[in-house]
Symmetry: C2
Subunit: 136 residues, 2 copies
């Protein structure tokens, strides 16, 4: 074992039910979308409604403009620098405007940042994939 790789890690796929459970465990993810300048990505609070992702943003912001009725990717993770391990779950799907936000179940997103975030998007996943980095 070289000192370069004290914790050389192994990748394992995460089964779908555990991916959903992990998505439910977090408050912030990163949404990737495309605008006229190419891919962009930013952190955002979210809530789960079943297997859908709900986000609340400004009606006049970049996410509302670029993600509505478009394909997006959404990522959550938990990573540990010390053991060089962790997990990530990535959802790919389509974002649609949801008005009003009345999820039949689940909770509303709770944006950490101040400001009016009354524009709601629902991401319906067609791909959910999870990877776990296990210390060797």
């Amino acid at each position: 074992m070289s000192t370069d790789h004290w914790y050389s890690s192994k990748l394992r796929d995460i089964p779908h039910p555990e991916c959903i459970h992990l998505l439910q465990s977090q408050q912030v993810g990163r949404i990737a979308f495309e605008d006229d300048s190419g891919p962009d990505v930013l952190p955002i609070n979210y809530a789960m409604d079943g297997e859908d992702i709900l986000i609340s943003t400004s009606a006049y912001g970049v996410v509302a403009r670029a993600a509505t009725n478009s394909r997006v990717a959404f990522e959550v993770d938990s990573l540990d620098d010390y053991t060089e391990s962790g997990w990530s779950v990535v959802v790919r799907g389509r974002a649609t405007h949801e008005s009003p936000l009345i999820p039949p179940s689940g909770e509303h997103p709770h944006p950490w940042a101040d400001g009016t975030r009354s524009y709601h998007l629902r991401i319906v996943a067609d791909v959910v994939r999870g990877r776990r980095l296990i210390p060797a």
Copy 2:
């Protein structure tokens, strides 16, 4: 103050030199790119070479295929669920194949995951933006 917003946070822009410093402080970011199915995003180890981002990946993987000679976005953050605050830095730019990887300065990426990751990409930023969420 409602119990919904114990730590209602304020957004502040981070000056460019501090963005670079924060990029230098982390080991993992998330790269957003586009393939035939739309935007995708995944966590990846990186190193900084000046203000450029260096990543090492598999020559046969999705990142090499979709990101080479394409526009990408790259995000790092540090977020605290308890205080509902933190920071993020996002770089947007173009990724090009770098062979061999001989950065004139900086360090090589150290991928946590096992496996051959001998395909190196350099992301040259044309946009760097940072936001800090400050507890109110």
